[in-house]
């Protein structure tokens, strides 16, 4: 505790980075996440009171992207792997639902298992190849794999090709159409989001997570004490892909429609923006970033069809004037020093 107070506040970028690294050990992140989850859990009440069912639809969509951003934070924030093809995993998960339900398999558990298997396998193969490169080349190769998945789905005319495919119905659980109710879907997504957050928090503090974080900070040092980074980075990449696949399962159900547009490189870019906006390597930041990004997007769209320009300006300001994204900003405002 006393050690932390001796560290001067983020005077250098290096210090800012390490403050993020310390965040996971702190109670601050867990508390912030608990507040976010609590507010989300109460949201349906507000939606009912305001008689605004669309609120819940928006919130569900936001939570789905928060789940995907959360998984990206594992590779981007904790693994220092700038994956520019993360939307492909969402798309693979979504198509697992679409293809299975088009073939009469509507059970969400079967669909989820297929989605996780397919996205994890795609992550394993593309990750094993991509991780042979570093830096900009890693960004380019993950982008290329993402685009390959995109164009594969575009050409998959049996399942709608470029136009996408409408689901016959939402997924069922043991034959019961539980997710047909928007509120049930909302709480299902919230539960999985909380589970993923808690799980990933444990993972980043575990032996595995410590190796991942150490490799992010100094790969040479990790090799000098006997760790080969590749296996750990690939494992993280596969885990993240699988979680993003789950996000895809929910996205398909929420929209009741799946198209290749889910997996464009713009989508992958937006996920990166969400993580950076919220604060890399904090987990709670990815959730906050997804919420902020999608709310701002909706809000700006009201004013102008050129809302992306406004979004761009906001992002530039954010990157210039805050370090560590939303989490970094909150830390500075509350003066919370991390252990």
């Amino acid at each position: 505790m006393s050690a932390a107070s001796q560290v001067s506040p983020a005077a250098t970028p290096g210090v800012a980075e390490h403050r993020q690294g310390g965040m996971l050990a702190g109670r601050g992140a867990a508390m912030a996440a608990a507040v976010i989850f609590l507010l989300l859990a109460l949201l349906p009440l507000a939606a009912t009171a305001l008689n605004d069912p669309f609120l819940m639809v928006t919130a569900t969509r936001i939570m789905i992207f928060a789940l995907a951003a959360l998984s990206l934070d594992l590779v981007l924030g904790y693994g220092a792997m700038v994956s520019f093809g993360h939307a492909a995993f969402i798309g693979i998960g979504a198509y697992a639902v679409a293809i299975l339900s088009a073939n009469g398999v509507g059970d969400i558990l079967v669909q989820a298992i297929a989605a996780v298997a397919a996205s994890a396998l795609f992550a394993l193969v593309t990750g094993a190849i991509s991780l042979r490169t570093r830096g900009v080349y890693f960004i380019m190769i993950t982008l290329a794999f993402g685009q390959m998945a995109y164009f594969f789905m575009v050409s998959l005319s049996a399942y709608g090709g470029d136009d996408g495919i409408t689901l016959p119905a939402r997924s069922t659980l043991f034959g019961a159409p539980l997710l047909d109710d928007d509120m049930a879907l909302f709480y299902a997504v919230l539960a999985v989001l909380i589970l993923a957050f808690a799980g990933l928090r444990a993972v980043v503090a575990s032996r595995f997570g410590r190796v991942l974080r150490g490799t992010r900070d100094n790969a040479q040092r990790m090799q000098a004490i006997g760790f080969s980074p590749f296996r750990y980075q690939l494992t993280a990449y596969v885990m993240a892909g699988a979680i993003a696949g789950i996000a895809g399962v929910f996205l398909a159900n929420q929209a009741e429609f799946v198209s290749p547009a889910y997996m464009t490189w713009q989508r992958s870019g937006e996920l990166i923006v969400m993580v950076v906006l919220g604060g890399m390597g904090t987990l709670v930041g990815a959730i906050a970033g997804a919420i902020a990004f999608l709310l701002v997007e909706d809000w700006l769209a009201i004013f102008s069809e050129h809302w992306k320009l406004g979004l761009g300006i906001l992002l530039v300001l954010l990157v210039l004037f805050t370090r560590g994204g939303i989490v970094g900003g909150v830390e500075r405002l509350t003066g919370r020093s991390q252990p």
Binding site: A202, V203, F208, G209, R210, V211, Q223, A224, F227
Partner: protein, 252 residues
């Protein structure tokens, strides 16, 4: 038995194009010995450490450790067998606590790191062994500090503690005194005296005073060639060495 070398280097070579950086280097280090490698700037000392630690592949020659040919093994494999290095430019995990820096090195050799849920920072066994290594370099009172907040001399000590925590029997120390002030140097020299009791050490160092105080054997590297090997006294009086190296130092 004790005369069998723990580290045996034979005919080691490394060239970058026409520039031969390590030229037919051979030497033996017996268990418990501190073998210093000295030489003017650009002599290829750090390259040699890279080759010994396995971070750089040799063009030719052979490196044996504890009777096993480790020439083709990479750095990770060599660390597992007990060869650990420190870095000339301090290379610690700045954002981690001092304790975690050492605990990670212990973790690398104790069980699988594919454990995903139990918090690693609370593993008593890892922390206890890490504390032992820190105590050895007198950093135990800094255990909870962030490594990045340590002084230069303390970071140099942490470098050594990490190598110790990795369970190494052979320490390859690349200029542990680099950038250390007078007082820090004295402390580090004393520390290395202590390490000699338990570890075999290959030491690369510019500080001649320290080298002659510590070394059992001294090798002199000039333009990648080892021009002399022997006790500190014999190397000191070697005319070639005086001409190539020590003379410059003394004149300076």
């Amino acid at each position: 038995m004790s005369d069998a070398p723990i580290l045996s280097v034979a005919g080691l070579r490394k060239a970058y194009g026409a520039l031969t950086v390590t030229d037919d280097v051979s030497f033996d280090v017996r268990p418990g010995e501190l073998h210093a490698i000295i030489g003017p700037n650009g002599a290829g000392k750090t390259t040699l450490i890279h080759q010994l630690s396995g971070s750089l592949r040799s063009d030719a020659g052979r490196v044996s450790f504890a009777g096993e040919d480790i020439t083709r093994l990479d750095m990770v494999e060599r660390v597992r067998r007990g060869v650990a290095r420190s870095f000339q430019i301090t290379s610690v995990l700045e954002g981690f606590s001092v304790l975690e820096n050492a605990a990670l090195a212990v973790q690398a050799r104790s069980g699988s790191s594919f454990r995903f849920f139990a918090p690693a920072a609370r593993e008593a066994q890892l922390n206890a062994l890490a504390m032992d290594a820190l105590a050895r370099v007198q950093l135990d009172d800094r255990a909870q500090r962030r490594a990045g907040s340590l002084s230069h001399g303390e970071k140099r000590k942490l470098e050594i503690a990490i190598a110790l925590a990795s369970g190494a029997r052979l320490l390859l120390l690349d200029e542990p005194l680099a950038g250390a002030g007078k007082e820090e140097t004295a402390v580090l020299v004393e520390l290395m005296q202590d390490l000699k009791q338990t570890h075999t050490i290959v030491l690369i160092e510019h500080d001649m005073e320290a080298v002659f105080a510590l070394a059992d054997q001294v090798s002199v590297l000039v333009y990648g060639r080892m021009i002399a090997t022997g006790t500190a006294a014999s190397v000191r009086s070697d005319p070639d060495v005086r001409a190539a190296y020590l003379g410059e130092e003394e004149a300076a």
